[in-house]
């Protein structure tokens, strides 16, 4: 109400603005400067392109210069924890590790997994102790690559460490990855197995692990 009259005190720092000097108004010096910058980049980048010395987009990402890559002929490697297409890990004998407990399909927020559990045939040491998946289908189109299935799995049977990204296909049924396909993907290290060993019933190295169903 009782603001003092007169010029208000300006608070803040003045912004630098290029004045309308002769060099700016006559265009030419500024055009020459611009051309110089253009040609500098042009020469440098062309030279590095021709000599194959342009920076690597990953290894030399802090260097200036052209570091685009010609996807898909050239690809940037995915980081180690990249969640790619699922795979089903193997036991030592090549059968799936999966015990068909349905933890993964329960955890799946996108409900993209379909598992039909089955009993091992009579006489198999594992019969009655654990089941195996008769069908194991993942709809990769519906999958949201959250990784919850990997977290949920109690036996480390499903992993997303293939390093393959979700591929585009022509039709929807091509996205339904079945058990055989999922078992066929190796991890990024090329192995179908992994570092956590799976002990089988009757393994002498693990005497405490009994497979006696009568105990339950």
């Amino acid at each position: 109400m009782n603001a003092p009259l007169g010029p208000r005190k300006v608070v803040g720092t003045p912004v630098f603005r290029a004045g309308r000097t002769v060099t700016v108004q006559s265009y030419l010096p500024e055009i020459a400067r611009g051309l110089g910058i253009t040609m500098g980049h042009f020469f440098k980048n062309t030279k590095e392109m021709v000599l194959g010395q342009r920076p690597d987009p990953v290894l030399e990402s802090i260097e200036d210069g052209v570091n685009t890559i010609s996807y898909p002929e050239q690809r940037r490697p995915y980081p180690e924890r990249f969640r790619g297409v699922h795979r089903l890990t193997h036991r030592a004998d090549g059968s799936p590790r999966c015990v068909a407990c349905l933890c993964c399909s329960t955890a799946c927020p996108a409900q993209c997994m379909y598992i039909v559990p089955a009993e091992y045939p009579a006489g198999d040491a594992r019969r009655g102790y654990e089941r195996y998946p008769e069908r194991f289908v993942i709809d990769e189109l519906r999958c949201i690559f959250c990784g919850f299935c990997v977290e949920a799995c109690p036996v480390d049977a499903i992993r997303m460490d293939t390093g393959i990204h979700a591929a585009p296909y022509d039709s929807r049924d091509q996205f339904l990855f079945d058990k055989d396909l999922l078992l066929g993907f190796p991890g990024r290290d090329g192995q179908h197995d992994h570092i956590n060993p799976r002990t089988e019933p009757g393994d002498p190295g693990f005497p405490g692990v009994t497979r006696d169903k009568h105990g339950h």
Binding site: F43, T46, G52, Q53, L59, V66, I69, P72, Q74
Partner: protein, 592 residues
Amino acid sequence: MTTGNIVEFALKAFIVVMFGMNLAVILTWVDRRQGSMMQDRVGPNRAVAWLPRPLAQALMLVPAALAAGGIIFYFLKIPALPVERTNRAMFFSQLAIFALWATGVAIAGRVQRRGIDNSLDRFVSSLGDPRRIFYAGLAAHLGTALVAALLKGTPEGRQLREIGYGAGPAVLAAAVLAGAVYAAYSIRKQERVGLRLAGLLHPAADGLKTIWKEDFIPPNADRFLHGIAPIVSFFPVLVVLAVVPFGDTLCFAVKAGHTDYSQLLRAVPPGGVCVEGAVKLQVVDLNVGILYFFALAGTGIVGAALAGWASDNKFSLLGGLRAASQMVSYEVTLGLTVIGALMIYGTVRLDEMVRWQAENAWGIFVQPLAFFLFFTAAVAESKRIPFDLPEGESEIVAGYYTEYSGMKFAMFFFSEYVAVVTASALMVTLFLGGWHLPFVYRDGIHVAFGGTSYLDVPLTQLSAVLIGVLAFIGKVIALCWVQLSIRWTLPRFRYDQLMKLGWRMLLPASLVNVLATGLVMLAIASAGAVVHQSLATAAELTMVVVAGTGLALLVWFVAFVLRPVHKRRLIVSTSAKYAEAQGGTHTARMGA
């Protein structure tokens, strides 16, 4: 008109049209590719033709073997006349030195790219910085010339000459062959080799693509005019090249009053322009010369205006109107800027203009303001950024070719680039000495001041003219490149700014230029001998400046290209870890 004349005309027309169109095709691609490069991107570089390895090796070895064989054959079967012995020894020694260091530099480049592969690679990389090879080569070039000049006429000199005479061709042939063998050997592990021609397959692929694209004509368009507009805009920019001389006159022998095309004279008297048996390297030597250019450049407007009107589209019409008004405005400046040059050269024939510049000084030195104004107006004439108001995609979609597709669109697009080439060719002819290079005369390279000769290399007529043709092509390419980099640098003008620039700045400036030129010419005409003498010295000085700057730029450029690049690798992420394991991201191939 004899059959010879017709064939000669057709051949020259073919050469000029091929030059213009091919350069325009290359520019179309360069504008995209190198334009991205300057923005730190890669741009289109995918086009590749895969050759099986044996074919690629054959393509390397056979031409090299033929070249080496040709050199040896030339040396053995066509011995030099005694007077030519020194020249030929010098020529082949210099060429051999060039071949040696160029091969060395190429191998060093390959080692940098692909790493050490064999013992020759190891040796070359042990030499260190590839610039050393280049500098050693330069030193050898100069040293040979110096030794030859010092020992001229002495018995040691004669002995050295004989060594050079024999060893030059041998070393040259060996270097050519060795380079090819190295290249063929270095691809021995590859299944196939990609032929990319430095990316030049891409414009060819693009051109083919447009032929198969849909040719859309709007339902209410004038079908005839819509179809003819691209041709109308393409034709004039190309035929303008007809009056541009691309080389010095060739002198043939005359037999019974007719030009004997089978016999090219070895030498022409210096400064002598042959009257009979002359073949001008210019499609037509019109007496109206440059006026032909202005007449045809004016009709280029019609194409754009027709396209704008015939498309039945508001944006097209606006674009056509803009194109018409812009081109008319700048045509005025274009015409008036040349007046000053015409006054000085005293002719409208482009051939004679080049000759005047060769005898005195290049046009850019006598008419610097005119060159600048002409350059600006010529860029505006070609309707390219920063003067691309007729297209102005942010304002009027695509301007006068909004409703064009397929090959018709490509023709508009292409005519823009041909216009760049023709404008450059004309600027080179008017202001940059056309096919002339300083100190290169019809009988050889002579550097002499005030009676003292510093360099004296005789040339045959053919090689002197060829040097001229190459100089013309090089200058045109350089000027095209400047035009392209202007496009990569500057933003678009506003429409009123465009008109203001044309009518209020360029036009008055060109009038002032005419006035100033007239006054200076009057003053010089009435000045004494001292002024004339100093002007002649100044003209000689400009030649020295041009030659010196050109050579220095060349040396700087090669040294710049060879300067190694040091990069810091930073392996912090697992992505980088994988990339390093694969030998870098660039080499990582698809392999899911």
